[in-house]
């Protein structure tokens, strides 16, 4: 019951907050601009069945390997598929993987970080040790390892990426909680007789939420790039689904023959999407850093 009440109050803070973004200077604009990019890509991908001029998987819609022209603005690949349609429809996998992995990270990383730092002691040390070890591992290699074990597919890719990034969430939440715990208002709550759980949910968590938002947005960008990478080396989804990552692989093979357009346009889309999230993350972290304007 109490948990629901908290979430409602957090939302009521969010809405007026959004409208005031324009007044918050450069950082606010970063968030808005990044959000626009991201939303545009999402909308484009969602509407792809209707707005793509051709079926992205249909072969020989046009002449093979033809450069960008008025008929095919992004050119065609070696199987004669329209690149524009592939670019419009290719974000689906990446977005799904990214969103899924972020959700998994939130579900695992946040409670773990809260619990570990609030409990402290040996348990905290132990969990931190595990997290640090995973964190120390080169992320991409770890993701590859997990995909090999779990197999291909959207969900497995998402899980592999999540495993790599949970430690980031954990660390940030933990360090936030630890610094918040030092604050007098936590002592005040304890002095008033509040139970540990109340302190965690009503005093610590609301103050940690901003940093969660920042980690999540930056994480999105990372997840997208990792997903692209995994597909690039062939660990991604099956061949028949239009996917930017796959086009990257294909496009790279086609580069020596001079067909620059196959790799370029999907690559640009990946960059745009990652950029959108990164800008949001940067802007958010600027906005949410302590307001010390005395």
């Amino acid at each position: 019951m109490k948990k629901l009440k908290i979430k409602k109050s957090m939302l009521s803070h969010l809405l007026p907050g959004l409208t005031s973004l324009t007044k918050r200077g450069l950082a606010g604009w970063l968030v808005i601009f990044g959000a626009i990019l991201v939303i545009a890509v999402i909308v484009m991908t969602a509407l792809s069945p209707w707005i793509a001029p051709h079926d992205p998987s249909a072969l020989t819609v046009g002449p093979r390997l033809s450069p960008p022209s008025t008929q095919f603005p992004f050119g065609t690949d070696d199987l004669g598929r329209d690149m524009l349609s592939r670019v419009i429809s290719g974000g689906g996998v990446m977005l799904q993987v990214a969103i899924l992995s972020v959700i998994v990270c939130l579900i695992i990383g946040v409670p773990l970080g809260l619990f570990s730092s609030h409990t402290g002691g040996v348990i905290d040390r132990f969990i931190s040790l595990i997290m640090d070890s995973v964190y120390a591992f080169p992320g991409f290699i770890l993701a590859i390892a997990f995909t090999v074990v779990l197999g291909r597919g959207v969900i497995n890719m998402a899980l592999s990426i999540a495993v790599v990034y949970v430690p980031s969430y954990f660390r940030i939440i933990r360090s936030q909680v630890l610094s918040i715990k030092e604050m007098s208002y936590i002592e005040a709550a304890n002095a008033a007789g509040a139970r540990k759980r109340t302190v965690l949910l009503r005093y610590i968590l609301p103050n940690v939420v901003p940093s969660i938002a920042v980690v999540a947005t930056v994480n999105f960008a990372d997840a997208i790039l990792t997903a692209a990478g995994l597909t690039f080396i062939g660990m991604g989804v099956p061949v028949n689904i239009p996917d930017w990552g796959w086009d990257l692989t294909n496009g790279r093979n086609l580069l020596p023959s001079g067909a620059w357009w196959v790799i370029t346009f999907p690559g640009l889309m990946i960059i745009l999407l990652a950029l959108g999230f990164t800008l949001m993350g940067e802007g958010l972290s600027e906005l949410l850093s302590p307001k010390l304007e005395e």
């Binding site: 803070h13 604050m183 007098s184 208002y185 002592e187 005040a188 709550a189 304890n190 002095a191 008033a192 007789g193 509040a194 139970r195 109340t198 009503r202 005093y203 609301p206 103050n207 307001k291």
Partner: protein, 331 residues
């Protein structure tokens, strides 16, 4: 514990272990401690304002926090209303917190930035299941009004960052008072507030004492404020009380060399008034490596080598109600 005593502290100690690196843990046996509070005993009478005074690091804040059960003592006993509180179980301790409250030094950090003042002040009522909903709101409005945050309806919905330091400190008092405690520990309540506003807060505290029948443990490093507000004062140095007496006596007849040095160092707002600064040698030793015997001897202008080095002086009465911990004091 006599009729009049509301709080009695006996041989209170608080040692904090010094964190060692992994290598040090392997190679050395000895454990080092920061002896923040090192055998402190005193009692507070009902309705009085008892001040723990001393410089930073002397252990006064730690003592205050132990008394309101924010941390457990390493050893020693604390009696509140005749009940020994260091051995109470969790639940009993929670109930006790209704009677013993604390006001913190930093008005900026002592409020949750994401909670409205009304919520923050009223939260203790929820915690102890005393009132909810409209009844809670009524009590909150009353107490905000009482501490001078008027119109209360306006302040209830403000966030901490929308209020000034002085206003926040008043809200802190409201929060402490809403449970109708008997005893309040005030930890440097005005040191982070603008000078022109301090008097108002202190006067508020004095008024509240009258109206609510409170007893205060006042903690400060500012002896000038201590002189204004206290009934009795205990001077602390490196975790021990070195002198304890009522206000008049401390200022007119300080006997411990440290007290004398402290008083001489206080700036007096009179032009060209140069007080004779008792030159204290050196700096305060670390609380990890407390000097043997009298811990003040490394800085004391009167230190007599032999006695002061070997024996730790006890807090003894040199006259009724005037205690000094110095073997050379009576001379």
């Amino acid at each position: 514990m006599s009729e009049n005593e509301i709080l009695k502290v006996e041989h209170l100690k608080k040692y904090f272990p010094v964190e060692k690196s992994f290598l040090e843990k392997m190679l050395t046996r000895t454990r080092h401690f920061v002896r923040a509070v090192d055998d402190v005993s005193f009692s507070v009478l009902k309705g009085e304002i008892f001040t723990l005074a001393g410089e930073s690091g002397c252990g006064k804040t730690t003592t205050g926090k132990i008394i309101v059960s924010l941390m457990p003592p390493t050893s020693g006993k604390i009696f509140f209303d005749n009940v020994e509180i260091t051995t109470l179980n969790h639940e009993a301790l929670r109930v006790l917190k209704r009677k013993l409250q604390i006001i913190f030094q930093d008005p900026y950090a002592s409020f949750n930035p994401r909670m409205k003042i009304g919520e923050a002040v009223g939260h203790p009522l929820e915690i102890h299941d005393i009132a909810k909903g409209s009844e809670k709101r009524k009590k909150v409005l009353e107490i905000l009004d009482r501490v001078g945050l008027t119109p209360a309806e306006k302040f209830v919905d403000l966030y901490p960052h929308q209020m000034s330091g002085g206003q926040r400190q008043r809200a802190a008092m409201a929060r402490a008072l809403i449970l109708q405690p008997e005893f309040i520990v005030a930890d440097e309540p005005v040191s982070m507030i603008d000078v022109s506003l301090r008097t108002a807060i202190i006067d508020l505290m004095l008024n509240l004492r009258k109206d609510f029948g409170l007893t205060y443990l006042f903690i400060t490093h500012d002896l000038a404020i201590a002189k204004y507000i206290s009934d009795r004062i205990a001077i602390m140095y490196l975790g021990k009380i070195v002198e304890l007496a009522d206000k008049q006596t401390i200022f007119s007849n300080p006997m411990h060399p440290y007290t004398q040095a402290l008083l001489a160092a206080i700036p007096v707002p009179v032009p060209e008034r140069m007080r004779k600064t008792t030159q204290l040698k050196g700096d305060v030793p670390s609380a990890i490596n407390i000097p043997s015997g009298c811990r003040f001897r490394t800085r004391c202008p009167r230190c007599a080598e032999k006695t002061c080095k070997e024996k730790e002086p006890e807090l003894v009465p040199v006259s009724p109600n005037h205690y000094v911990a110095c073997d050379l004091a009576e001379k």
